[in-house]
């Protein structure tokens, strides 16, 4: 019985996260991507569908659904079908461990805000999932049986593997500071401005650059570099299958922003306001405040992702590899070393 209730609560939370966080979040990110791109280019951007063009993502999705679904004759049909599913599933799966707030007490039981934010291996789970994400892109490139797609897929796998190292090592240094891979605990430790970014500035920088590479965003969007690879790994995808890759990209951006917020910027912590208002731990009001704090921080990071995309030009492939292996990798190693030394001295 207890197991069933737990399962149902988890299922309900997953549904809420899927329909109230990921889908609106991703479509909102698409909308703001287009709006901000336009503003930076001195244009106005989509403003016709609905008030301020807010319904534009919905119109886009409707358009995508009604498009013809083309599978190239020479493609491997099973994997061609599977690839976007893998991409989107893994993106969604990452959200399972993200803590959106602390907890609310319902019937005397604390219900944590997040699908499963208390998993012991939180960070490892996220790393595992993001490195699985590369399968979607590589499979898409392989199964399409198109040279541009294949090149895009190959690039994405090479890029992700190179940057995963730096990202993993920056997290190692962070784990040395926090002493736990549990995301909820990491956020709890950062109460009252003790944000990890203050202890790990270099680690944060490495993590930031690596997450740009992991999410395939400019300046590291080589897997879909339009001028040289047509559409990269999704050249041969149409309609909603393309839409899934698109959704996965923005889902990944949000997930990466959420990870940075949780790991380095105090997650859902609200500084000094709860004491000021006398809010109790576990009350709904405080939970809402925490979710708002988390959302604002994530939104700032998503804005940063978009802002960088329309500022920095794409790297060349060899530059990308050089940055990954010759700069970020040694830097993150040095960061681990310095962190260890400082901890030893203290």
């Amino acid at each position: 019985m207890e197991l069933l209730v737990d399962f149902l609560i988890g299922f309900l939370k997953a549904l809420i996260v899927l329909f109230l966080v990921i889908l609106p979040g991703a479509s909102g990110a698409v909308y703001f991507e287009r709006r901000i791109a336009a503003w930076i280019q001195m244009r106005i951007g989509p403003n016709r569908v609905g008030p301020y063009g807010l319904l534009q993502p919905i119109a886009d999705v409707i358009k995508l659904i009604f498009k013809e679904d083309i599978i190239p004759a020479a493609a491997d049909k099973r994997f061609h079908f599977l690839a976007p599913l893998i991409s989107i599933t893994i993106t969604v799966a990452v959200f399972a461990v993200i803590p959106f707030g602390h907890y609310v007490v319902i019937n005397g039981e604390p219900v944590y805000l997040g699908v499963a934010p208390n998993v012991h291996v939180g960070i490892l789970y996220v790393l595992a999932m993001t490195s699985m994400g590369v399968y979607g892109l590589t499979l898409a490139g392989w199964a399409s049986n198109n040279k541009y797609s294949l090149l895009g897929g190959l690039r994405s796998s090479a890029q992700m593997i190179s940057y995963e190292l730096a990202m993993g090592l920056s997290i190692v240094a962070l784990l040395m500071v926090t002493g736990t891979p549990n995301l909820m605990e990491i956020v709890e430790q950062q109460a009252g401005w003790r944000w990890n970014v203050l202890y790990q500035p270099l680690g944060f920088l490495i993590f930031l650059v690596a997450s740009f590479a992991e999410t395939n965003r400019t300046p590291f969007d080589l897997p879909e570099a339009e001028p040289e690879l047509v559409g990269g790994y999704h050249t041969e995808y149409t309609g909603m299958k393309f839409g899934m890759f698109f959704l996965a990209e923005y889902g990944n951006v949000i997930a990466a922003s959420a990870m940075m917020t949780a790991l380095f910027f105090g997650g859902w912590q609200v500084p000094f306001l709860p004491e000021l208002l006398g809010l109790q731990e576990g009350s709904v009001a405080l939970a809402l405040l925490q979710v708002a704090s988390f959302t604002i921080k994530v939104a700032i990071f998503v804005f940063f992702f978009i802002w960088v995309r329309w500022t920095v030009p794409r790297f060349r492939y060899d530059q990308l590899m050089r940055l990954g292996w010759k700069v970020l990798f040694p830097l993150s190693l040095a960061n681990v070393l310095i962190t260890g030394l400082v901890m030893l001295i203290n």
């Binding site: 901000i36 503003w39 930076i40 280019q41 001195m42 244009r43 106005i44 802002w307 960088v308 329309w310 500022t311 920095v312």
Partner: protein
């Protein structure tokens, strides 16, 4: 490169600053149907025939028709009792063909055909896209911008006119 430049990050920060300025700065877009674009004399819109106080200027020499690259103009000449004894009985421009090159305007010896500012050309069928004289003739007062522009930028002497003196 110095170490600071090699670091690359300061330059990225500078770039981000520039794009942020653009982000909040003024926008170029014209919200078309609500807001209209009013170009200056430089604009090459729909070619029209100039209508003076004493009638049309065109003498039906056919040069415009001859020069028009997509053969959009059809002129048929007739006779009058006026000093310039030729006039176009029929003058048609097929707007489905016109490419707005402005060669007709450039070649006309009478400054009789000029490019107007009209940029909204909507036709419901092919026949209505062939504009006859009644649609082409536009009073000279409405074309002053373009005529002034042409006089400033053309290399040949425009024909002397009574109202210029």
């Amino acid at each position: 490169m110095t170490f600071w430049e090699k670091l690359y990050l300061p330059e990225i920060a500078r770039g981000l600053g520039i794009t942020f300025k653009m982000l909040i700065g003024p926008k170029m877009t014209i919200q078309y149907p609500e807001e209209k674009y009013h170009p200056g004399g430089y604009y090459r819109g729909r070619p029209v025939l100039v209508l003076d106080e004493d009638g049309e200027r065109c003498v039906a020499c056919g040069l415009c028709s001859r020069v028009c690259p997509p053969l959009a103009i059809e002129v048929r000449a007739g006779e009058t009792d006026r000093e310039k004894e030729r006039y176009p009985v029929k003058f048609e421009i097929n707007m489905l063909r016109c490419i707005f090159c402005g060669l007709c305007e450039e070649v006309c010896p009478e400054e009789a055909i000029v490019m107007s500012k009209d940029l909204e050309m909507v036709f419901e069928n092919r026949e209505s896209a062939i504009l006859g004289k009644e649609k082409l003739l536009v009073p000279v007062a409405q074309l002053q911008d373009r005529l002034e522009y042409l006089r400033m930028h053309q290399y040949y002497e425009p024909p002397a006119r009574a109202q210029d003196a």
